[in-house]
Amino acid sequence: MLLSEVTNTGFFNLAPWIIFSPVIGLLVNIIYGGRMGEKAIGWLASAASGLAFGVSVLLAVSLSGVHGEAQVVLFADWIRIGELNIPWNFRVDTLSVTMMLVVSGVGTLIHIYAIGYMHEDVRFKNDLGRYRRFFVFFNLFIVMMMILVSGDSYLMLFVGWEGVGLCSFLLIGFWYEMDTLGRPSWANSNAAKKAFIVNRIGDLGFILAAMTMFWYFGSLQFGEVFAQAEEIAAHQPLVMIAITLFMLIGVAGKSAQIPLYVWLPDAMAGPTPVSALIHAATMVTAGIYLVARSAPLYVTVPNAQYIVALVGAVTALCAATIAVGQYDIKKVLAYSTISQLGFMVAAVGMGAFAAGMFHLVTHAFFKALLFLSAGSVILGLERGHHHLAHHGKSEMPAEAAPTPPKYGHGSSSHNEAFDPGDMRNMGGLRKTMPVTFWLYLIGSLALAGIFPLAGFWSKDEILADAQLHYPLVYILLTIAAFFTAFYMGRQNWMVFFGKARHDAAAHAEESPKIITVPLMVLAGLSILGGALNLPYLHTFTHWLGYTLGGEGAEVVAEGAAHAVEAAPWYVLGGLNLAVAGLSTVLALAAIYISWILYGRKPLTHGQIDPLKKMLGPIFTGMERKWLVDEIYWALFVDRYVDVSRFLADVIDWRFWHDWFHDKFIAGTYNWLSNIALDKVIDTRGIDAFFNGLGEMTKQASASLRRLQNGFVRSYALAVLFGVVVILGYLLIR
């Protein structure tokens, strides 16, 4: 195409801009950020993300213009080795556009929130320079996530998959030289390393899946792989099971499922916007996206599907029970996230891809809302604490005189580290932070699944599907839903009701507009998000059905089909009233129980959790996370250290270094060079030859020297003479 022929050929060509705009944002911030000031940095990063959202909206609109037909936007050649040809193309279909909208939409809101949050965070931790770094990482994350969801092959998806892993690592360890309370420690960087290593285990599964796939399918492009899925599954069912289960390991790593979920709670070490964006709304849902994307593979092997669903359900229940026993406001939300991811994995495992994706979207709304509100609460407490430290009005147990802080504020100015995230330090915030309270309440109710908030619709769609196919999964998930409502109730009573259990909570201040306004938008989405897929209409299911066509669409549309054909009386337009009613009653009951335990008689300072008295060791188990971390440590980490010691000391040092390198190789080499090469070949052979050559040259030049008289023009005359003679000879000849 010549420059003169270049014209705008439609919005699909804009697809690469979902990556370009955050790339531009981060480049400008890297190059000019040092001279731009905080406001400009933050808003530039937000605008970059917002532009990506705008492009995603354009893509969605264009896509509905072509009736959801998947578009592949050719972009660039990437790998071309023999038969292996993997271009970097952008796949624009309903599934990927849904993910793009969530990533960039929620991402933009969290960027804006972070402008306010990081402004205070870098001041509490005394390093203003990291403000820019944070937004560079954040934009990089958007880039990587967009690559993940827009790639047209498993390899491109893997690039994004690793990229978001890297961003997650960088951002968990953002304050790498301190712990969450700002004391000098390696706690944060250890959390980052843990997340990174556990994710690598999952990625190994992904790589194995991709390699197996390439071996049997001869391609990693989505289109080519899916086209052969039926055939391979019919002839080599074991291959298909291997691929899907390897992939499940990857999903378990990225989406924090049993047995690889242990990194996510520790990941709360990152700043709160990170927890909201990466560890709740977007990155951790990559696994669900992967399963949904691979729907044509999964539907061919029901056994694998069942295993996936079961993993999800067990994770959902297990994590929900742990969440009950946590005291840290973000830890509760972290386990809640694992639990909800379990719901989604169970849903996509059952083949209810639309339900799973629907829950993914609504969960992104309300979990981001919850995390960000929790961040607001933590900031409020920090501010309250700051206020106290500077005014010294202590009404509670003694605190030491302030000393000059080294690492920020929280630690060294007080004997006893104050943890602004500990719910035992909160209480009564309803009055001091009213806006945050209402936002948090909306998020909690949406998560608990109370009608008519977003969570109600999406969770009940999953439960209804489970009830149809897998009774065991259904029972597990229902219990998990009960626990969900209970721990959210517990958290709300502990944080916002009763009386302040710490000075800081009593002096907490409401957050500024820049923080609360994005929250309000998210709250609105949490309330209205259910409208995406209302009974009878099933907008979202149809939208995704364009992409998950073929067998996938059958399963997806099954809920709707049931409603039309064999619907019992309690199923209305795809909404199973019995299931919905039961879960709502359970949720309300759970909230009531939590009120009895925590709301009626609020906790006081230093009081033991009332549930502990009732359940004893079981609650201790919940509190200690069922000792999973300790078991992993004993089983894997210690053994690994033993093996590495052996390798380093015996194999590497003693065998390779001392014996093989020093004695064997170096000794032989020394002998060869000293005796054979130097004395014999070099001195007697080579030197002698070249010295002789030099001597000859000297003698020859001595006799030729006389020709040189120094007049340039004479030389030229001689040259001309030569020319004339030669030319004459040529003519006469």
């Binding site: 005359l717 001309l720 003479f721």
Partner: protein
């Protein structure tokens, strides 16, 4: 006698006369100016031969850059004229004689060995299409890319060389 032939004869006369002028003028500035004129007439020859790009490059590089550089050096050094006399008195007659022989040989070669009637191919002065320049450029950047790059390196080396040569050492006034 057609128009082109008259033009050619006039230009040829100018070219030879300016070359002789350069050869004999005692003042180096005049020699340089004669040479500029000579280059300009050669550029017109190029135009007549259907090589407009080369013609323009000739004027830009030779007349516009190289000869200005000469004038610069002449004026800066004050080297317009050299004192009379030299150390090689036999050089001049010998050179003139040899040059005459060379010219005779060339003439013999041209008039005896090559047919006078060999006509040039193509339409000549009328060649004025954009394609000609485009073809030249494409050949330069495809077939002759390596020589082109080597030339660029050569120019860079020459530039650095000129700077290093004329740079004054530190401490030297």
């Amino acid at each position: 006698m057609d128009f082109t032939l008259i033009l050619f004869i006039v230009l040829a006369a100018v070219a030879v006369l300016t070359a002789i002028g350069m050869l004999v003028s005692r003042n180096a500035v005049y020699a340089a100016l004669f040479l500029v004129l000579n280059f300009a007439t050669v550029a017109i020859f190029y135009l007549m031969l259907g090589a407009p790009f080369i013609a323009m490059a000739q004027v830009t590089v030779y007349a516009g850059a190289i000869m200005v550089l000469f004038l610069f050096v002449i004026m800066l050094l004050g080297a317009e004229k050299l004192p009379k006399g030299g150390v090689l008195p036999w050089q001049r007659p010998l050179a003139i004689g040899l040059a005459a022989v060379l010219l005779a040989e060339a003439g013999y070669l041209l008039f005896q060995r090559i047919q006078m009637t060999t006509e040039l191919a193509g339409p000549g002065l009328e060649v004025n299409s954009v394609e000609a320049v485009r073809t030249l450029g494409l050949a330069l950047f495809n077939q002759y890319l390596l020589p082109f790059e080597v030339t660029s390196v050569l120019l860079l080396v020459a530039m650095i060389g000129a700077i290093v040569l004329t740079k004054k050492e530190k401490g030297e006034a």
